[in-house]
Amino acid sequence: MANQRGTARGGIEQVADGTRFASEHPETLRGYYSQMALIRAFELRSAEMYQRAKIGGYCHLNLGEEATVVGLMAALEPRDYLFTTYREHGYALARGLEPGRVMAELFGKSTGVSGGRGGSMHLFDQKLRLLGGYGIVGGQIPPATGAALALTYRGGPGPDAEAVMCLLGDGTTNIGSFHESLNLAALWQLPIVYVIVNNGLGMGTPVDKAAAEPDLFKRGCSYRIPGERVDGNDVIAVRDAVLGALARARTERQPGLVEAVSYRLRGHSVVDPARYRSKEEGERLRGLDPVPNLRTRLIEAGILDEPAARFIDEQAEARVDAAVAFADESPDPQPAALFEHAYATAVPNTPHGLPGDPLISVPGGQP
């Protein structure tokens, strides 16, 4: 049942760049590279800003996942909805959010995409239908499935129908909500594609130490959901696999499961030195780095030349410089605004006390 294209890690057949690139418009390919370069520059800068204490809390980067991120976002239509994890800076950028507003969120500024209230793990944009980063593992899966349910009340299936994309990590396939929600999506025929971003690890845990069926794309079997694995370092392969799954979701209301295999180049979050990974493994991964790889291949294929590539890289750096400047100059949220957005519908007696404030305006004064 599970589409067997690529059945084991690395066992994914490589199409020669020639043939693969030939069928693409050069502008498209250059666009993919620019997006990947932007994400790379943004993430490296985020790490730096975290070290400089401009960013707090947890900060998870997409380093090594750039091809997956850009391939997925290339397949997703503006009318579609996206639910992501806490490792989502790149998706926000590729979906079209201003880098400045994303960096401002990481800095906790009022100009941030979530008004500085969500931070790195909780990027949200209603207009771009980016329905959130989520920090609770698996927590995004039921709401994403519910969003797909809501779409079935808006209109019937068809090529122009809206769909939902729900991202999750490899380690997240072991949590109950994955099972429950995929069952509901299949049972109710919901227009949703679940994408497992398999970066090889859940924190320090390799896939086969966490999943008794480590071929994660096969895990749709329990719901009759077809699964497919693609090389997450191949932006085009990722895009095409998801385009196919999205098409089935739109026209047949057939939920899909796609596993994109890439590698997390650094620690789980910026504070994790990843000592559990050997030097050799580190070396090997750097060899698989999708960003320099695509750059070289595009140059070899004559789609880019070195100056053009350098120009793209410099542009990316420049955009990130601007993003940091914007974030830096932006104002902190005002403490007076603390209770804003606590509730959507105002009702009497909603709490608004600060620590140590008296309970009642009129405390028990003299009788």
């Binding site: 995409v113 979530s114 209230r117 039921p142 519910g146 809501a150 929600s181 606590a342 009702v347």
Partner: protein, 330 residues
């Protein structure tokens, strides 16, 4: 005004809201074909069809989370969780997700959903099926928690909850479904966050909610004959909590007792007593006392269950003690 049961009031209100607003949908286990474990949704599947009244598999976390996501896209899901005991399987979606999204995402999205669920013991359902855990939800900012005691409030608060743009936990009670009361016709939409003095009195205030309010009113009516004038405050909303109405009553009566079905320690009554001692300190003639359930996993055996749960008799006894402690003369 029509005399009807709490169950009927809930049923009719769900039906009216389904008719009024296309975006209202019902989700839950056995609410359709089976007509609901407690038959609140009887007939609604037939009338509104399987897309508006949707039976779900057994997966509390996901069908509640599905409601959260549907609400994010503008639907108004009303979820039934068979009993509050099972809400523990969905609490990650309720507290870590539904209650957080509006604030955490900077006000860009709201989650207009209602979670209907009955609490309560006394049915010999044993330890895992007899809990009163509403205090957990009442503790959480981002949530609203209402707990109607009468059929009329069941109607008005359910309408309000469905029309509210925040996640609302709507607490029902197994022992209330068959209770009857007068219910006004037409649209009735209550104000969430406001308590009510359901029986005025001079000598002592009893604060309660849900089933406890019914018991308190009974007890108060009996005490009336014995020359004790008890005022009963029905909280109606646990979050937000109407502290002023509670304290105003105690400033008048100078004595207070809380009746609650949950366990005493860290229960709803703790907040009420803490509120009163701060909001009416100089008026209190005696400590605020709490009448609550014995702190044990509730046993199945009737003899033990009866011993563990608070009754009108327990309430009467404590009211007497408070009156004596404050030298009240009949």
């Amino acid at each position: 005004m029509t005399l009807m049961s709490y169950r009927q009031a809930l049923h009719d209100t769900l039906r009216a809201e389904l008719q009024r607003d296309e975006s209202v949908i019902l989700l839950g286990e056995e609410i359709g074909v089976f007509e609901g474990s407690y038959k609140i949704t009887a007939g609604l599947l037939t009338e509104f069809g399987p897309t508006r009244v949707r039976d779900t598999p057994i997966c509390e976390e996901s069908f509640v989370g599905v409601a959260v996501g549907a609400a994010m896209l503008g639907m108004r899901p009303v979820v039934e969780i068979m009993t509050i005991n099972f809400s523990l399987l969905a609490i990650n979606q309720i507290v870590n997700h539904a209650a957080k999204m509006h604030a955490m995402f900077g006000g860009q999205v709201c989650v207009p959903m209602v979670i209907r669920t009955p609490g309560g013991g006394g049915q010999q359902l044993a330890a895992t099926h007899s809990q009163n855990l509403e205090v957990w939800y009442a503790h959480v900012p981002g949530m609203k928690v209402v707990a109607p005691a009468t059929p009329a409030d069941a109607k008005a608060l359910l309408s309000a909850a469905i029309r509210d743009d925040d996640p609302v936990l709507f607490l029902e009670n197994l022992a209330l479904y068959n209770t009857k009361g007068e219910v006004p016709g037409g649209e009735q939409v209550a104000q969430i966050g406001v308590a009510a003095v359901v029986k005025p009195g001079r000598d002592l205030t009893v604060v309660s909610y849900s089933r406890g309010t019914v018991v308190a009113v009974e007890a108060a009516t009996q005490l009336e004959q014995q020359g004790v004038s008890v005022e009963v405050v029905d909280l109606r909303s646990l979050r937000p909590l109407d502290r002023e109405t509670v304290c105003a009553s105690v400033r008048k009566t100078s004595r207070a007792v809380v009746l609650e079905d949950d366990w005493l320690s860290y229960g709803v009554g703790a907040e009420i007593a803490a509120t009163i001692q701060e909001g009416a300190f100089d008026y209190l003639d005696a400590p605020v006392r709490r009448v609550a359930a014995a702190e044990v996993p509730l046993p199945y055996a009737k003899s033990l269950e009866l011993a563990a749960l608070p009754t009108a008799t327990d309430l009467g006894k404590v009211i007497g003690e408070v009156l004596d402690a404050s030298r009240f003369t009949r």
